[in-house]
């Protein structure tokens, strides 16, 4: 791994550590959302079914939002221009972002996971490390997606508008609220091309059925393909000559 990736990642970590309010919100808001779901569902079995999907969807949501806004600020305050005039490569910049935000994604996953298991008493059958590895994969896709879409936004307001466009449809169609198989056929087709459908299906297999990563090869393959594709798109859109 290049030294520049580590430098950029450590800078992102330093920034978030110094921005205590944002750091607290990253940890507390998912717990509030999980608690709302936990106390509002009438049947414990529904919570068991929904909890893994919440874990996956919240990583997607926060990964996308945090990276998108951060990258946009990097552009608007001119620091991205300064980085692009330096010896670091585009892949170093995206890689640094990836590594920096993934550490927070892992932290967020662990806090939320233990909250779901020990406070909301969600039943769970899989291995924690396998769940974290899978969550990291979802996080990579979310960070690359946030980076890529930040290129299309000119300000933070526009970036936030991408949430109902990009994230909310995935939340409704991924199987978080009702099974994909029960949707109309054309929506099933749409759901099957969205990455979050595979994220939710994979995390449920790990947490509810106690399967291993080896048994969810299709989900891992689709998420990895999305992550690589978005990583390339994110790096390409950071063209040095783009101005």
């Amino acid at each position: 791994m290049s030294a520049s990736i580590l430098t950029i990642a450590s800078r992102i970590i330093n920034q978030l550590i110094r921005d205590r309010r944002t750091l607290i919100l990253i940890i507390v808001v998912p717990l509030v959302i999980a608690s709302l779901v936990g106390v509002s569902v009438p049947d414990k079995r529904i919570l068991d079914y929904t909890a893994p999907a919440i874990l996956a969807v919240l990583i997607l949501f926060f990964g996308f939002l945090l990276t998108g806004i951060s990258f946009l600020r990097e552009r608007s305050q001119g620091t991205l221009e300064r980085l692009m005039a330096s010896p670091v490569s585009r892949l170093d910049i995206v890689g640094g972002y990836l590594l920096g935000f993934l550490l927070f994604a892992v932290l967020q996953t662990m806090v939320l996971f233990f909250y779901l298991i020990y406070v909301l008493n969600v039943n769970f059958y899989g291995d924690l490390w396998q769940i974290i590895v899978f969550q990291v994969l979802i996080g990579i896709g979310a960070v690359c997606m946030g980076t890529f879409f930040s290129v299309l936004a000119k300000n933070e307001f526009q970036m936030v508008q991408f949430i109902p466009m990009i994230i909310v449809p995935q939340m409704f169609l991924c199987g978080l609220l009702w099974p994909v198989e029960q949707m109309p056929e054309y929506l099933q087709w749409l759901a099957n091309v969205l990455p979050m459908t595979y994220g939710v299906s994979g995390i449920r297999a790990l947490m509810l059925q106690g399967q291993s990563l080896l048994e969810i090869g299709k989900e891992i393959g689709v998420l990895a393909a999305y992550a690589v594709g978005l990583l390339i798109l994110a790096a390409v859109t950071l063209r040095r000559g783009s101005g």
């Binding site: 030294a3 520049s4 430098t7 950029i8 800078r11 330093n14 920034q15 110094r18 921005d19 305050q77 001119g78 620091t79 221009e81 300064r82 980085l83 692009m84 005039a85 330096s86 010896p87 670091v88 490569s89 040095r240 000559g241 101005g243």
Partner: protein, 252 residues
Amino acid sequence: MPESSSGPAVEVNKLSFAYGRQQVLDEFSLEVPGGISFGLLGPNGAGKTTLIRLLVGLLKAKAGTILTLGRKPSPKIAHLIGYMPQLPSLYGELSVIQNVEFFARIYRLRDRKQRAQRVEKVIRLVDLWEDRNKSVMSLSGGMKQRASLACAIVHNPPLLFLDEPTVGLDPELRVTFWEYFSALTRQGATLIISSHTMDDAAHCDRLAFMRDGRVIALGSPDELRQAAGRAQATLEDAFLHFVRREEKKDVG
């Protein structure tokens, strides 16, 4: 100071650039010798910032050639170049020292002890050592400009591009900045500074007056004053003299 070529620091030949249909630079040529402070002077919209962004490799020319330190602008020579954009371009949440340290690492100052010494030296140079642990967002505009300069020079580049570095500074701080710049050229660095104030122009070793994406006059401040044809001419008089001459040419 890192390696540099012995030829001109910057050579620009018949450079053209447009934003869409808006032509910003048209067959622009310029040669800047090494070890001097060179001022790009002109009103807003003259093409100064676009030229600097082309020279540091942030924009790609539509036509013409650019050589910085004898080579085409690319990430391969980026470690030899310092760039201070118009905006302070710093990480607001981080402290002054964290910002400077970050850019020192980005510019490949790998040895921890040497890096720490260099970071301290440039922060002291811009007189922010007492404020090094303050977050950048809590600093005044002038202090941010000084921190931004520290980030641009931390790797001791032989060629430095400063885009309107004195904008928004009070007169006292402006003098201080010019003392930094003189110290850098005495050490052998080449400084290319854009500005639209004639106060800055008077401090430069050589100047290019720019208007509408073209160089309308080139020379030392004294040469340009003399060319205005009046004994007590200021640089402002000289600039207006060359602007009127160009307007006559255009009409003719």
